[in-house]
């Protein structure tokens, strides 16, 4: 799939989005330090593309996805959404009442196939409720459309009278997809939709997502930590580290030659397809930086193998390295980092 960036219009523009937790004054007088889960993220998603968001656990990618779907209220920043009528609307500041018409356009698919479906509701209720809540259908019409959706995601229409406990993980994920499709959204935030599934089932779900995208001209924000999945599915990828985007590029460019040391480390951590190959991951030392107490300078410097004095004191900005490629590193020009091909060679 070729990135349609040159021709496509932006559908979502995230501008300096922040989500901080805590940082409030306690009644005893103590002030807790804010946890900066998402700390000034900026990128643009174009209509019809699959935008990948990768990073290790706790880097804020799920929080960012939930802010964009407005399951969470962002602390600061803008989410500029362009509906089909051509206006630009900032979803970040709308009240729940004002938000309701645009809720339909941005839907979500969740990671956990168990907790994402209400165990006390039948599939008809689970998939039909979005339509009923938004006044899209009622009565028999709901059942008809739920049946269509179930068949579209590869399940049988008769299943609608059953409860979620009767389905396997992959089937439940299909149900979750059907629920997201119920409102005919334009953007779907996929929060690690396949990471809880078996590899064989993962492929089925990914293919289903691709087919649906082609059929309905969907735009995906695809959150993942599995780089293989991202390479397969995404047109462009943003790499996140403690709440910030450290690198953003087209998928092929990113995998061919990463610009940020963190991206290189992530790629080297992917286990090789050949189990006998001696892989030498460039393992990072230490843990993800504490989002409540970030290190000075570049947030990645305590774990970075290429760290120099400047990295310790001066915080790098996200800058455009070449057209469409963004990086948050002082040394992007001088470093010559290894892409997946070199890493595979080094391991062989």
């Amino acid at each position: 799939m070729q990135p349609p960036i040159a021709t496509a219009d932006p559908i979502l523009a995230i501008r300096d989005l922040k989500k901080h937790y805590g940082g409030k004054k306690h009644w005893t007088g103590a002030v807790s330090k804010a946890i900066r889960a998402v700390d000034g993220v900026t990128f643009t998603i174009y209509e019809g593309e699959t935008f990948g968001l990768v990073g290790e656990s706790g880097c804020g990618k799920t929080t960012l996805g939930r802010c964009i779907a407005r399951a969470l209220d962002p602390t600061d920043g803008e989410i500029i959404y362009s509906p089909e009528d051509g206006r630009d609307i900032d979803l970040a500041t709308l009240s729940p009442r004002q938000l309701k018409p645009y809720r339909q356009d941005v839907q979500m698919i969740f990671q956990d196939p168990i907790s994402s479906l209400n165990p006390r509701m039948t599939l008809l209720d689970i998939i039909g409720e979005p339509m009923v809540v938004n006044g899209l259908a009622r009565g028999k019409e709901v059942a008809r459309r739920v049946g269509e959706l179930l068949e579209r995601v590869g399940l049988r229409a008769e299943y609608m009278v059953r409860y979620p406990h009767a389905f396997s993980g992959g089937q439940r994920q299909r149900i979750g997809i059907a629920r997201a499709l119920a409102l005919n959204p334009r953007v779907i935030v996929c929060d690690e939709p396949v990471s809880a599934l078996d590899v064989s089932v993962q492929a089925q779900i990914l293919n289903l997502l691709q087919d649906l995208q082609a059929e309905k001209n969907l735009t995906y924000l695809f959150i993942a930590h599995d780089l293989g999945v991202v390479e397969y599915l995404c047109d462009r990828v943003a790499v996140m580290y403690v709440g910030q985007v450290v690198e953003l590029a087209e998928t092929s460019d990113l995998f061919a030659r990463p610009l940020h040391p963190y991206t290189e480390a992530l790629m080297s951590a992917v286990p090789p397809a050949n189990p006998r190959a001696a892989s030498q991951p460039r393992l990072l030392e230490g843990d993800l930086a504490n989002a409540a107490n970030l290190p000075p300078g570049c947030h990645f410097h305590p774990r970075c193998g290429y760290c120099v004095e400047r990295c310790r004191t001066e915080e790098p900005e996200l800058r455009e390295f070449s057209p469409g490629r963004f990086v948050r590193c002082h040394r992007a020009e001088e470093l010559r980092l290894d892409g997946v091909a070199e890493l595979a060679e080094a391991g062989a």
């Binding site: 009644w27 938000l99 990671q111 006390r120 938004n134 008769e158 629920r179």
Partner: protein, 379 residues
């Protein structure tokens, strides 16, 4: 799993397009199947249902009126016999009458079975009149004797039938548990729900309040509150006062469970999904939170009932709860707080004590079974 655990009670199979018959199994049915596997819980549930039925039809089940006196004071339980003194077998069970003598040293009555008096037992006998449900005049009793007397659990110092008094006492003791638990369900869901949904200082305040209430030892607090109930109130008022006193403390555990479940459910993805597709807060509470919360709350309540039954018994036993002429198991125990009763007429305290113990145990078993069955995610 046995065969009968899977086959019955499922709804009629639904034919699908490919001809395969399937059954739709709701979470409720799954819970019921799981509960059924806990044999002890099922047996206890049946026992409790029978016990509650007996309290509803107390006049019918009890052979006498709780206040009517016989001439046999402190008579021990009469054994039911099928074989008479000559070794002959009778299909119809009978009891022997008592011959009373006095112990010449202590002057206490000593009863020996009088084999010349035989009272055959019958079902649905005509006996003392009573009002069914307090409304309908009736005089049929479930079992009894046409002539003579039958005291299954013995008699007390006025010659009142203890079995009858146990049945009537169950009306108070068992209903206290249910009604008070219902009160604490309402209070607990409401307060716990507010606490879990709003969070912040409201949550903090409610949780600290609950801790403060729990920190006070229960019995002294009950004693204090129960002692504040005016002693000249009619028995019905006293009963409700005791109910309120008991519920004032027991709502705390329900509130905590409700709060915890609200907090946990609020973070579940299906609630996030509902928020993302624009469901209102009321809808999320009614359709997504409360249905998933009820099974847990019901389990806590089942486990809370025995505590309340014991609470009522303890209060009455200590003399600050219900008082004579009201009959409850606690009152019966309180009446037998005398050395000579404990030593010479043990049936007077063994009866009510056995009732309390078996009901409390049964509730605990049912609660255990319900807890195992309640989790819809564990399969």
């Amino acid at each position: 799993m046995t065969a009968e655990a899977t086959t019955p009670v499922a709804p009629a199979p639904v034919a699908t397009s490919d001809g395969v018959a399937v059954r739709i199994i709701s979470p409720r049915r799954l819970m019921w199947w799981k509960f059924r596997k806990h044999k002890l819980a099922v047996a206890s549930a049946i026992f409790l249902i029978l016990a509650y039925l007996a309290t509803i039809f107390a006049g019918f089940v009890a052979p006498y009126d709780p206040a009517s006196r016989s001439r046999n004071l402190y008579a021990p339980p009469q054994g039911i016999n099928f074989v008479d003194e000559t070794g002959q077998f009778h299909l119809q069970p009978f009891v022997y009458g008592w011959k009373m003598t006095r112990d010449l040293k202590t002057l206490s009555p000593v009863y020996v079975a009088d084999t010349t008096q035989k009272f055959p037992l019958r079902l649905f006998v005509q006996g003392e009149p009573y009002k069914l449900f307090g409304l309908i005049d009736a005089d049929r009793h479930l079992f009894g004797v046409d002539e003579g007397y039958f005291h299954l659990a013995g008699t007390d110092h006025f010659g009142r039938d203890l079995f009858t008094r146990l049945v009537y006492g169950a009306q108070i003791s068992l209903s206290v548990g249910i009604i008070s638990v219902f009160l604490s369900l309402v209070l607990g869901l409401l307060i716990g729900g507010i606490s879990g949904l709003y969070g912040g200082w409201i949550d903090n305040f409610i949780q600290r309040l609950i801790e403060a209430i729990i920190a006070i030892p229960t019995i002294p607090l009950w004693l204090g509150l129960a002692a504040a109930v005016p002693r000249d109130w009619p028995p019905l008022y006293q009963y409700f006062a005791i109910l309120v006193v008991l519920s004032l403390i027991s709502w705390t555990s329900t509130a905590r469970v409700a709060r915890g479940r609200f907090l946990a459910l609020r973070e579940q993805d299906f609630v996030t999904a509902a928020r993302v597709y624009g469901a209102s807060q009321t809808r999320i509470i009614a359709k997504h939170l409360v249905p998933n919360l009820m099974s847990y709350v019901i389990v806590t309540l089942t486990l809370a009932i025995p505590g309340i039954i014991i609470g009522e018994t303890a209060l009455s036993f200590l003399g600050v709860g219900l008082k004579v002429p009201t009959v409850s198991w606690g009152v019966l125990l309180q009446e037998s707080q005398k050395v000579q009763i404990i030593q010479f007429y043990p049936w007077l305290w063994i009866g009510p004590a056995a009732c309390v113990v078996s009901v409390v145990l049964a509730f605990n078993f049912v609660g255990d079974g319900a807890r195992d069955a309640a989790d819809p995610f564990s399969r």
